[in-house]
Symmetry: C2
Subunit: 218 residues, 2 copies
């Protein structure tokens, strides 16, 4: 039996700034890696609906529908879709992959978000500098993990690398990996995969198409 | 074959403030729920060792050793230990439990930490008030999920409820659940379980014993 087509839900439109980084990109990347067919549906960004909150209690994206299963939280979606594929081994290595999926979210991204909010949204440079002091050691500690290996678990790319690399794109853009060459190389190794290139192109095409049908707020 | 004894690693000593909340409590609670024997080992809080960083790249606790497997990240440890027990169903409900484990960390606790840091550590009441504005809607949205049910997934307590309830203890102590009676009831339902009572008593006894053998910093 062919697996059912996955339905990936993202926003109907977003401003320029988050384009390239809305978290549906993570799910698109994985779906390309595993060759799973999917289609995209949307929920309004600007007037969030009760239907949206019924599926995602915090009113965020992405969500997926996979057969009878509706899921939110990008990390949980990735673990679910990767199960049974080469991107999520079984046994102890599977536990290690789950550990690094959660570490990417909790030990790296949770430090990244307050930094990005201060720097890019609030444009409060003092607050951004303080948050950067908390973030930089984390990035350096992560590079230490990758000192003698190419990928986080075992000797191959897993869903943990997919998520970690996706999360590292923003600090890399901001120059925070400039003095961390091993970590920058890891990011380059992951994002040079054809599945990422395809996913990013489709993600950007989605917003470009949205510009044709949605009107930007005044 | 009996399962191997789990080794749970926490700090050798902590000040009064985090006692009751150091994240080994989560793992102790789960181990009591599933009746899995364990013993506690420690790493120094005040002079973190290379051995510690080799097992936990960010120098935190808890960690576990389960046979050949060394794991960190409390969420990943919980998912690993719960696998195959009543606290983590298989199939679609298992994916939903993983979703709520990650949501507890990423959609609730990630808002809680900056609030707690501002309020209790920095004692910066203006910053705490700003963070509270971000946190309160999350708690209210979580209560909405529990409006018509006792537990997050299906009709029984799972590892997702264990983690979510453990995370809610601090905002409850601070009064943030006073106007959220369904959520307060959920927390009470979870933490009145005998396994939590036992885990908390053992956790507190660990710090009391530490006071006998460790000297507090000047």
């Amino acid at each position: 039996m062919n697996p059912t087509q996955v339905v990936l839900t993202t926003y109907d439109w977003v401003p320029d700034m988050p384009r390239g980084y809305v978290r549906d990109i993570r799910i698109r990347w994985l779906l390309e890696e595993i060759g799973r067919p999917y289609r995209v549906e949307t929920v309004p960004l600007r007037e969030k609906t009760a239907t949206h909150f019924a599926r995602q209690p915090f009113g965020q994206v992405p969500m997926i529908q996979d057969g009878d299963l509706s899921l939110f939280e990008s990390g949980a979606i990735l673990l679910h879709l990767a199960r049974g594929t080469d991107l999520l081994p079984s046994g102890d290595d599977g536990a290690r992959v789950a550990q690094w999926v959660i570490a990417a979210l909790n030990s790296i991204e949770s430090f990244l978000i307050p930094w990005a909010v201060a720097k890019f949204f609030d444009q409060n440079q003092a607050a951004a500098a303080r948050q950067e002091e908390l973030l930089r050691p984390r990035l350096s500690q992560l590079q230490d993990v990758l000192q003698d290996r190419d990928w986080l678990v075992g000797d191959r790319f897993t869903v943990a690398d997919l998520l970690m690399a996706e999360i590292l794109r923003i600090p890399a853009e901001a120059g925070l990996l400039d003095d961390l060459p091993r970590l920058a190389g890891y990011l380059e190794r992951a994002t040079s995969r054809p599945a990422f290139t395809k996913a990013l192109a489709d993600h950007m095409a989605h917003w470009q198409a949205a510009d044709q049908t949605q009107s930007a707020p005044a």
